[in-house]
Amino acid sequence: MKKEITKKILEDHNINSEEYNMILAIMGREPNLLELGIFSVMWSEHCSYKSTKKWLKTLPTTGKKVVCGPGENAGIIDIDDNDAIVFKMESHNHPSFIEPYQGAATGVGGIMRDVFTMGARPIANLNSLRFGDPKNEKTKNLLRGVVKGIGDYGNCVGIPTVGGECFFHENYNNNILVNAMSVGLVKKNKIFYSTAKGIGNPIIYVGSKTGRDGIHGATMASAEFSDESENQRPQVQVGDPFIEKLLLESCLELMNEDAIVAIQDMGAAGLTSSSFEMASKGNCGVKLLLDKVPCRETEMTPYEMMLSETQERMLMIIKPEKKKITYNIFQKWGLDAVEIGKLTDSGKMELFYNNKLVGTLPIKPLADLSPEYDRPSIKPKKIKNYQKKKSTPKINLEKVLKKILSGPNHSSKSWIFNQYDSSVMGDTIFSSEMADAAVIRIHKTNKAISVTSDCNPIYCKSDPRLGAEIAVAESWRNLISTGAEPIAITDNLNFGNPEKKEIMYEIKEAISGIKKACIELDYPVVSGNVSLYNETNGKSIFPTPVIGGVGLIKKLKYATGFKMDDDSSIYLIGKTKGHLESSLFYEHLKIFGGSPPKVDFKEEKKNGNFVKFLAQKTELLIGCHDISEGGIALALAELCIANKKGIEITLKKKNPEKFLFGEDQSRYLLIINKKKEFETLAKKNNIENERIGFVTGAFLNFKNLFSISVDALLKLNSSWFKGYIE
């Protein structure tokens, strides 16, 4: 069945002539269609990271607490007492745009499998969403579908969805971002990896039967959209959260039996990438009998079986003497488990179908020689309409705050998170709107973890390096605010087409920003994901490097949220200069561009460590909220809304708009009862601080400036979603 590989076929597989020449060199002959298909998915951007590998390597990935950095299904950090946290974030942008419900659902399913593949039970999910302009005709359905998809999947599996972000901007009209993060708990001595070992060991396939789902999903995620591709869509993958739940429970049960040598979920590029990655890590060969692959549809070809992206499947290498118990456990859970091949010492992947050898590929060369590009980059021109402002125009500040609070991006997201089961598993201490990060108790212990996801694309567009630095710093600050010790991050890099120099510039800049911030804050990257070609008809998304952070709260009593007691004082920590460029305030004045605020990492660490000290070593801290977009004004309003309590603020400043809306970094609002003790400590630690007001009454009252009732704040804040979607 030798087929001529035509130019058209190469094009359909997204393989350029240079790459094809490498394929010819590796194979020493012309590949057949099956082999070419395998190359195409393995060397797709999605699986090979060919445009970013060179730069990702520069990220700091080690540290005292790092158990496993990038390279495995997910990253792992140590949280003491033989406990470890497994986490990763992954994008499902393209599929979610095509079919929002299934795309988002399968995104959640995929990331959870990455976590439980390693032996961890997922204990929290987060998601970071970017949609187009609410007025765009597609946005509403996308929002509805994505949120329902995320909710239905996580709710059904029984993992609490505890946090995330949602941001609207016309820039995402035709390329929404759906990044899902999952966090799991494992005993440090019970971690499972994906390195195949033991010649002759059986390869077991478990889970859903293979269909023709999403064939070429991985190559789709590696190509630009056009209006045309929206019509000629490849088949969509449908998620089955029920099977996921069965897979989760059965795999964790089997993991107690000392039966598994290596295990890997079948994610992007399904059977191909899972078997290749396992074998290449273990330097072995693989023999697969494709007739054995459980199929949902009739007459599936080897090509389709190898490239299918049917969800809810796992591949594992089992100790031969444990086959029986393996089958028993999967049978108990009602899942298909089939031996589909064996490990060999050939170093090759040999694919058999109907007793015929239908494909042979060398494993190591295919993995090691996968393309790695140093794509050219160029600094894009500055946004034109930005002019440096000497002074801001006179403006009604009350109106601006009200507008921010009632706009899509800073409205209460309760319409979204009430669709997520955030209380299942019984360990949720804070979810969504009650703290800067979600806080989850480690079951049956006195400690907790804190998790958050962050990115401000407006900053990143203006300055991808600074924007990325801020994203990392903000995630660190969010964790600190909850009383946690920040430990490590996962990153999800969403960008446009890397073959364009301006985009490549953004990618490189953002990665170097992440690198800098991670080194400064001793906050390494342990896992991540890259999503490129988020571009339609030549228009790219804003650079959106989303950062997912995880920290440890050593004792439950350190956990801090937005709580305010009556009459307690509000202290502002950190330097306030009134940076307005790239701020929300300027956005509302339609002043775009300009540089985001700088992060002074010395200051960042000093302030953060002080807040941490207060949370852990004193009883002074009642509540805490970091200051980010929208400045002090928005942070205060959020505190009032969360507590349904008023605050009185005394302003001494000349430029109230700078004080209220400036977005200087490294700052916190602290709710403190014992003023003297606090001030002594702050002074001793050389911390810039100011008592700006106190908790009282039923108004957010900026004395001598304006005042809004808490009722009005609540109403303003909850109205947008109601009007938009209910």
Partner: protein, 77 residues
Amino acid sequence: MIFRVYVNFKDGILDPEAEAIKQTIANMGLNSVKNLVKGKFFDIEVEDKKNYLSEIEKISKDLLANPIIENFKIVKK
């Protein structure tokens, strides 16, 4: 006038619900069943206005069925 719109999954699209039902039927020991396919229907009552047919079509395409994964068929009742 009533039109019935049938909506079901396209061939090859996984229908987890139908799978679960089939499994349950087997577990119930009912073994004459070979296969089961699931779908939805909508009975739309319309007034005899000029454009009712095009409206039904629009509703089917834009609202009742998700053309990415589902087929629809309109039948007069």
